[in-house]
Amino acid sequence: MKRGTKVRAFRGVTTACAAVLALSVTATSAVAGFRTDINRFLGTHSTEWTSDPNADPSKTYTYKSDYTNTKDLVLAARDLGERVSEEGSVLLKNNGALPLTPAETGKISLLGFSSYNPVQGGDMGSSVSINKGTDADTVDMVQAFKEKGFTINPTLEKMYDSMKDQFTTEINNWGNISTVTRITAPMIGAPFTSKEPSQEALDKQDPQWKASLADNNVMIVTIARSSGENRNYTPGTAGVDPQQKLNQSDPLGLSDDERNLINAAVTAKQENGGKVIVLVNAANAMQLQEVQDNAGVDAIMQIGLPGAYGFYGIADLLSGAATPSGHLSDTWVSNNQSTPAAVNYGDYQWKNADPRHNINSELVQAEGIYTGYKYYETRYMDVINGAGNASSTKGSTDGSGWDYYKEVTYPFGYGMSYTTFSQTLDDVSVNLNEKTVTAHVTVTNTGAYAGKDVAQLYVSTPYTDYDKRNNVEKAGVQLLDYAKTKELQPGESQTLTITADAQYMASWDSSAKNAAGTKGNYILDAGQYTFALGNGAHAAANNVLTARGEGASDGVRGNTSETAQWSLDALDTTTFASTKNGTKVENQLADADLNKWMPGTVTYLSRSDWDKTWPKVYEGLTATDDMLKAGLTNDTYQISANSEEKATTWGASGDLTLADLKGVKSPDDKKMTELMNQMKLSEAMIRTAFGGTSTKPLVSISSPEVIQNDGPNGFASYPLGQYANKDKSSGDPYAIDANDKNANYSMGILANESILGQTFSKELAQEWGKLLGNYSIWANTTILWGLGTNLHRNAYNARNHEYFSEDPMLTALQATAAVQGGQEYGIILAAKHYAFNDTEINRIGIAVFMNEQKAREGELRAHQSEVEDGHILGMMTGYNRIGVTAANANTGLMLNILRKEWGFQGLLSEDFIMDNEYKNLRAAAFNGITMTTSTGEDSMQAVEKQWPYWNERDVSQDSRLSAALKRNMTWQYYAFANSNAMDGLNDTSRLHNVRTWYDNVLTAMTVAASVLTLAGAVMYILNRRKYAIEGRSLDESVAAGSASNSENMNADEAQSQTASEVASENAVETEKEN
């Protein structure tokens, strides 16, 4: 080999090795940022605990599971899943067809492709886990029905099975692109496409399918709509696939193919006898008036998205093994566009939208407090009383005077049973000193079946002239509380005691003076308060009207035995002027009202005049400079040197560990303060910035890694065995065998949360929390973002399935019961998304505007009880803005209401915002956010790279921010100290960093690349030197040779023949050789 070639070869080797070195060094840094995910994937650990082996085990494993093995655990999940669907499915229509006789369960015809391919969970988020080979495998409708002894028409089953390729859709579920065989929800802006086969398609597939109905004449038709995060149903025909031409007026209405299928069943019934039952496999409220009106349809049951085991419960309901006791958590109407909350629902881009700051669109919730039944029932009552132009054509579906019965198909809270009940409101006492409303309700089963019943306690508060003058709105009826009976045998009675929180009768008056000397207060108006029971809000409204002697001429026939009266002599502005922890209330969300920024722009819907105040669409707006500066540009907190707060202690010496604080009663505990003083400022800053997927271990206070999981339908992100302790010798009573049959069990198995809402059972919600808590112990996964506490503002949000209801009280009380159920097991069952994240359209950045009364009596009320009564330890914030300010940066929302008024003392995470500016770390930290969902290396360098302002020098000089960080970390670690994340640790436990094999590989790669680079460089230098020497020798010899031959050459040739040319020729030869 020629010397020049060697030089280039070693140059190449050096280059390649140096490039690998650069890659390995950079990769080492990047890997550190994703250590948790990599460890999870590889099953490795970067920290290690040491403990005294003689430590008391009872102090090491504090939280106890109710189950001794994973089989019992997953069987309990199956049992609860079955019972939730039994109590949460709602019987909407029944002419006596249900329950089925044993003989009838032997001749079931399942019609509709969704009978064979049902929607059991969301498309993305709350997707059902498909478990196979475990002790509690997922079952679909056919499997469950067969297991329950039903016989399914084989002709239909075979026909639909042979067509299943037509029912597939590709979906994205947390990045996993998969093809599902069922109906799916539309992506944002996309239309709904029906997949129900036409009659012609069915005839073509199997001409005998209709004939098979003769012998299998109990026909169950399933109509389905899916749900999903980051999905949306666009209202009206714009939301329907225009290519299909199926006479579908709304994505939540029926298509002709669905209509014709139901009618085919009705026709078959007319020919062969039998029954037609429609199952509504949807969480979003559908438009079912035509099905209700179809005399050939015998029964309708809404089953929601029943999860992995719900079809067992539905089978029991159909067969009569269980009696329906569910009640709707939403109002189901004939036209979802008729609700005032649908007027402003869409993509209303700012004229000066600016993607740099996530300024995209706005949404003005001009309907005020009137969402769901609070609109329909209030307007109904005003129509009866001839008040407020309620009979106006505004909001009327058919354009004539507004008529409740043309609009509402099934009221909120409505649900049928196989048996009948009578309810008597024995007494109601209001104690404003104790701030309670106590009601006694006697429920008697007057029918022939055993069953449960729900006592729904509504209150109708006075709507006064004071309210009209001060723009205070009042719903005609509002749910105050509820209770569910045990299973009552025919003739059996039970007296329920409902102790409601009286503060939820109060209304927010933004103009009222308060105890703080400012404006904004909760008020109780002077006048008559009517309490009423009822099978739904409409029955309660009728009871109220009758009790007040109203509506008789309009045929209103309420039941006065289901009502009670209470009166207040004078306007009360003091009882609820302070919250439960003594904080004086005042306006906190004035910035959320668009009228603050653009005076006189918004008219909020008022029952004082339904016609004149009916919402208009607020679109084409231009954000003003004031709005941009006040929050839209995300520049709401500047880090500055100040001494407004006392100096904060960081990095103090000490040997306390978080395990020493297990079960600490208060974040203000002296030892807790000492522990947190040991933390360094940089550690607090890193944990605030990088809180994604888990909170990383912290050696300085020996805190463990705290794992998070997502899913309102359970622990869906990881299988049971992902973090479960597989070391049976560790002393962990909940360690599992490495080959445990249920190690791969995934717990995204629960029904969607609207179904839990529809149970109206705090007991079941509590069991839900207990089950999650038990699972959390076994799975070693402490945090579950599992309580969807946003409201169903209207039917079109395809993420409604993750939230309980349109009603804040039903949401709050179910969620609180779940939180309380889980607490004894140490799970941090976290609520999301605080607050007003009630559309998926432009959810990251959308500016949601509303008045403070709507905010406080709507979604804030849906969160309040979890904090005040449930002492919840974790919450997640919303993607959206409230007014002009990102929810994370909104001081009124985060600090003044959540932390101060309600006293929230737990961890608070941002949602999965990936934009570093919109994440607004400094403002978020100042406002009590304890973590974001970013991940990154455990170093200030990594944090500063993403947020240059988030550096230790500047933050340490900002006394306010430094104090806020200490306060936030105290809340966060207080929550951890009271969670099962501490299981396995005791006061002897200490955390140490350890290296993983991939750390070693990277280091080895770096070292090897370094050595090889160096070796290449050395060899290069040596060869280059020799090359240079040889080159010079060659030049000299060529020059000498040239001189001796010069006389044989002409002068010009001699000058041009240089040594370089000779060398060049050599090189050419060398290259050819190569």
């Binding site: 020049g4 280039r8 140059r11 490039a19 994205n172 992506m187 991940t935 370089s1060 060049s1064």
Partner: protein, 149 residues
């Protein structure tokens, strides 16, 4: 024509390296101006390193045309070859590492036509930069022109 005939394999690889690096840099800037990735600060390694790599590659190509390549010019050329590959690979890795989180977001929570389009510019840029790094490594094994010794 004589110039072209005089070029060696390394020359063409060098040209391809520059083209790939320019494409990578272009898409880096395009991506940094998108709504999805716009708030990630420009990384000095990718920006200045990329520019420097291109300049050095030009230097290598020009210096390679000289016959007297055995002295300081040759050493500088060889050092440049190493630096080019290091800078391009380093810049590409940083480009990728800065965006992993957002890729995860786009593929899951925020998947829509806009974010996917934004992500595609990042992927093209990263691929181009890594490609340019690989080309630079291969080019370092070859001389630029037949004139070079």
């Amino acid at each position: 024509m004589k110039f072209v005939k005089n070029q060696s394999f390394g020359f063409y690889l060098g040209i391809l390296t520059i083209i790939a690096a320019i494409v990578g840099m272009y898409f880096y800037f395009v991506n940094s101006a998108t709504a999805t990735f716009g708030n990630i600060p420009l990384n000095a390694v990718t920006v200045y390193g990329g520019v420097l790599a291109i300049v050095l590659e030009l230097f290598v190509l020009i210096a390679g045309q000289f016959k007297a390549n055995n002295g300081w010019l040759g050493v500088l050329t060889d050092i440049s070859c190493v630096a080019i590959a290091v800078l391009l690979v380093w810049g590409a890795t940083v480009f990728f590492a800065d965006r992993i989180n957002l890729f995860a977001g786009v593929m899951t929570f925020n998947r829509n036509a806009q974010t996917l389009a934004d992500m595609s510019s990042a992927l093209i840029g990263i691929a181009a930069l890594f490609g340019s790094g690989a080309l630079a490594i291969v080019a370092s094994f070859f001389r630029v022109s037949k004139t070079t010794r």
